[in-house]
């Protein structure tokens, strides 16, 4: 038998068992110490954390003055955040100058809003249609009657007295709910084949998107009264609402347009071949698909709007940020080194909770609605 050199006669040694790919050690190795450079980054990151976290923790909790503390404790040289200031001024931050005995009215509005909004947001909750009608049409009227008063024996409270979180929420909720349909109409107009309507929509959208919100708000607060017939005054809150809604609707329109463009032509043709009218095509076939695509964009706009409500401060409205700033500047009885910082941190936390909540909800909805496209 000839010697076939390239055929092994002996077994090779067994390879060493592969490294564990699960467990704490493997996780550490993979995520923190994969390479020497990685290890260096990890160590530097830990050093950074050691540098930042303890002082931050001490400021916010360790050396902070609790909600029941006194101003004297806040004025101690080593004191951290002054939470006592926040808890004592909380009413102002929420309601502004709204008459204190009447605070139950905004409270009912808040409770009603939560009661209607929560089932609307839970996909499995029943009676969606009734719920939506109640929230979109009945709730605003009830809220307005409750907040403004003047009928049913409720003391009238002018909008100048409204303030704090109440105004922030009113502007953002009204802005989002009104700008959404307006944005859809603008987006459809932009896609339209009629030149006059298309030009108008394009001009409106591009003009609004090109300028900062402040200039729109300036325009709404200074020029809107000029545009109205003589003797007719426009409520300041209404001016801000008009400005914010117009501004957001242009951005909504662009988001919705993205969704409309993502729908294949076949869908439009199929809808037309069913003999549906234009609005029925849109309502039953196109928009349900298009809007599903652009939920993240819509929620991003909602978040941006919620943050932008703080800009109404510049045209003299009293929102949450204005309330905090006013108290920071004027509450002499709470004057201390950290009062202003604590106030701004509190405001930031409120804004953060709302915005972060919205973004997480949108991610959840995206996952839920995405089922048809998952690969």
């Amino acid at each position: 038998m000839t010697d076939i050199g390239f055929v092994r006669s002996a077994m090779t040694d067994a390879r060493p068992a592969p490294r564990r790919t699960s467990g704490v050690g493997a996780w550490l190795r993979k995520n923190l110490f994969a390479t020497p450079s990685d290890a260096v980054l990890t160590v530097l990151g830990v050093i950074f954390l050691l540098w930042v976290v303890p002082p931050l923790f001490n400021f916010l909790f360790g050396h902070a003055v609790g909600p029941n503390g006194t101003v004297e404790e806040c004025r101690m040289p080593e004191a951290g955040a002054c939470w006592a200031y926040i808890s004592s001024e909380m009413e102002f931050f929420i309601y502004g100058f709204y008459d204190i005995p009447q605070h139950w009215r905004p409270n009912i509005v808040f409770a009603l809003g939560a009661l209607l909004l929560v089932p609307l947001m839970i996909p499995k909750a029943p009676f969606k249609r009734v719920n939506a009608v109640l929230f979109l049409f009945v709730y605003p009227i009830v809220s307005y009657i409750l907040l403004a008063g003047g009928v049913f024996g409720l003391t009238p409270i002018p909008t100048e007295k409204w303030g704090g979180l109440l105004v922030t929420l009113i502007i953002s909720v009204v802005g989002i709910t009104l700008s959404f349909p307006l944005g859809i109409i603008l987006a459809l107009g932009r896609q339209s084949k009629m030149p006059v309507i298309k030009t108008l929509c394009v001009a409106f959208i591009e003009l609004i998107r090109a300028v900062p919100l402040i200039t729109i708000l300036f325009m709404a607060s200074i020029m809107l009264p000029l545009f109205m017939p003589q003797g007719m005054t426009v409520d300041k809150l209404l001016r801000a609402l008009v400005g914010v809604t117009l501004f957001t609707s242009a951005y909504m329109a662009e988001v919705v347009r993205g969704g409309l463009q993502a729908i294949p032509r076949g869908q439009y043709e199929a809808a037309a071949s069913l003999g549906l009218s234009y609005w029925k095509q849109m309502y039953f076939i196109i928009l349900p698909q298009a809007l599903k695509h652009v939920i993240p964009g819509i929620v991003n706009n909602a978040i941006a709007l919620f943050k932008d409500t703080s800009l109404v401060y510049i045209v003299g409205m009293k929102d949450l940020l204005e309330a905090v700033k006013t108290k920071n500047d004027t509450a002499l009885e709470w004057q201390s080194a950290n009062t202003a910082t604590t106030g701004y941190i509190f405001a930031a936390m409120v804004f953060w909770v709302f915005c972060f909540g919205m973004s997480r909800y949108s991610m959840y909805m995206e996952r839920r609605l995405n089922t048809g496209y998952k690969r």
Binding site: W51, I197, P212, L226, K307
Partner: protein, 512 residues
């Protein structure tokens, strides 16, 4: 009976009002009429309102004396200046903040966006926390925080905090030295520009030759080795001198540093180059880390921080050493050190030869305020800071989305071609990611420019503050002022989108 087939499609028979064409015309006419009626109603109301308030309209106010102060202006400004000058001051101030903000936000944003994609858990978590916190808090609130809670809470002028390089920070802003170059320094500036252009030209030329022939030209390779040695000498000497003079003072530290650095530089042109690079990395990293860790964790004893810094520097040196041993031959390497040498050394030589001096006018604390130097007002600092930090979070998300948009197959294909990690990123991933990143990046730049109008809330004299604020209040010409301000932003926006469309046309995928 025969039907006449003319080959033309007859319009479907429909009643006059159901004809889509007719309907479209009717709709449009109705909309146009309504719009015209609405606008004329508004114009009528406005005219009546203005007449009732005894106000005039027109742009003649632009040539009237403004008579107010502007706290910060690049252009010459006095109370006697005209309103149109105020308009220009507003525009320049807006552009100044926007440009500085864009540069800083891009650097920070790209760093954080890449950090967020890091496989290192701590690095990516830190980036995620940054993005999620900053993105979800209103910019105006952040500006207030920086302005009222940080900068306005700085000590009074007398107790200014001293920063490195003769800078001071106090309630009135940041004072930095003002450079006062003399006549000869112009030549140094010229040399810097010329050398920069020359270096780029050499780099492009050498790369072209390499693309054609497979290797860099011999002269460049030789010069590159020389550049390598020089840069090694300079950097090594600086690091070692600091190490031996400031960190561990030794007698004749400078001389020893010079000798050691020369030895390393000499080794860097021989086959011991990897060792030289390792040693140099250790020296540089140790000096930086020792300062950094010592400053950040001042509660630890210096021995511990130094030992930690040494350990980290050692690991970094070993990484650099390993990489250096696997480097391609020198005629296939981009001569980066040579280009650095050209840009740094030639101007330095001219500086020395011409005897130019670059003196700095240091701010000096006098009885009430600082004299000399440049004063950056707190409004400016807060606005730049706030805009940078806020926009960087959005840019980071843009960058992350762009890099993730590149198909994994591209990475695998590049790897199977045998490209190294750096080349894979530079030649395959980044060019494709940039196509996705640039459009949203531009819109972030535009957002930053528009957001600079929030400076009005903290008293930075930008366009909205100067023109839609002070000028409007003084003249009462609301419509004209707001119209002009909007026109500026509209122009900027249209200009940007025009450039963007041109860019998109250039880089878009060419498909069937």
């Amino acid at each position: 009976m025969t039907t006449l087939d003319t080959g033309q499609k007859l319009a479907p028979r429909a009643s006059f009002f159901n004809d889509p064409v007719i309907r479209g015309i009717i709709y449009q006419v109705v909309v146009a009429v309504l719009l015209i009626a609405f606008i004329s109603w508004i114009i009528g109301n406005t005219a009546a309102n203005l007449a009732a308030q005894n106000k005039t309209t027109g742009f003649d106010f632009l040539w009237k004396t403004a008579g107010f102060d502007i706290s910060f202006s690049l252009l010459p400004w006095s109370r006697a200046s005209y309103y149109w000058e105020a308009f220009l001051v507003g525009i320049t101030n807006t552009l100044l903040v926007a440009i500085i903000g864009i540069v800083l936000a891009t650097m920070l944003g790209f760093t954080i966006g890449i950090a967020r994609l890091s496989s290192n858990f701590i690095v990516s978590s830190l980036a995620t926390v940054y993005i999620e916190v900053i993105r979800n808090v209103p910019l105006l609130l952040q500006l207030f925080f920086w302005y009222f809670a940080v900068l306005k809470a700085m000590p009074a002028v007398r107790e200014s905090i001293t920063l490195p390089f003769d800078a001071f920070i106090n309630q009135r802003g940041i004072m930095v030295p003002r450079p006062t170059p003399d006549q000869e320094f112009t030549w140094v500036m010229v040399a810097i520009v010329v050398c920069l252009v020359a270096a780029i030209a050499i780099g492009v030329w050498a790369t072209r030759i390499r693309t054609r022939t497979g290797r860099y030209p011999a002269s460049i390779v030789l010069a590159g080795k020389f550049g390598d040695a020089c840069v090694t000498l300079l950097v090594g000497f600086t690091a070692l001198a600091i190490l031996l003079n400031a960190v561990y003072p030794v007698a004749n530290g400078t001389v020893i540093a010079a000798i050691v650095a020369a030895a390393i530089a000499a080794a860097s042109v021989t086959r011991f180059a990897p060792i030289a690079r390792g040693v140099m990395t250790f020296a540089v990293a140790f000096v930086i880390l020792n300062f950094m860790i010592g400053g950040m964790l001042s509660w630890l004893s210096p021995v511990v921080t130094s030992a930690g810094a040494a350990l980290i520097a050692l690991v970094m040196a070993s990484v650099v050493y390993t990489n250096a041993t696997e480097r391609p031959p020198s005629d296939a390497r981009f001569p980066l050190a040579l280009l650095i040498l050209i840009v740094v050394a030639i101007p330095a030589l001219i500086y020395w030869v011409t005897g130019a001096t670059l003196a700095f006018e240091v701010p000096v604390l006098e009885r009430f305020n600082f004299r000399g130097g440049v004063q950056l007002p707190p409004e400016f600092v807060a606005l730049v800071f706030g805009l940078t930090i806020y926009t960087a979070a959005f840019i980071a998300e843009t960058v992350r989305a762009g890099i993730q948009s590149v198909n994994r197959g591209q990475t695998e294909a590049a790897q199977s071609l045998g490209l190294k990690d750096g080349d894979r990123l530079r030649l395959v991933i980044v060019p494709q990611a940039m196509r996705v990143i640039i459009p949203p990046l531009t819109s972030q730049y535009l957002n930053l420019t528009k957001n600079s109008s929030l400076g009005a809330a903290i008293g930075y004299p930008e366009l909205v503050n100067v023109f839609a604020g002070t000028s409007l209040n003084q003249t009462g010409r609301a419509i004209e002022c707001i119209f002009m301000v909007m026109l500026v932003y509209l122009t900027l926006s249209l200009l940007t989108s025009a450039i963007m469309n041109w860019y998109n046309g250039r880089v878009k995928l060419v498909e069937r």
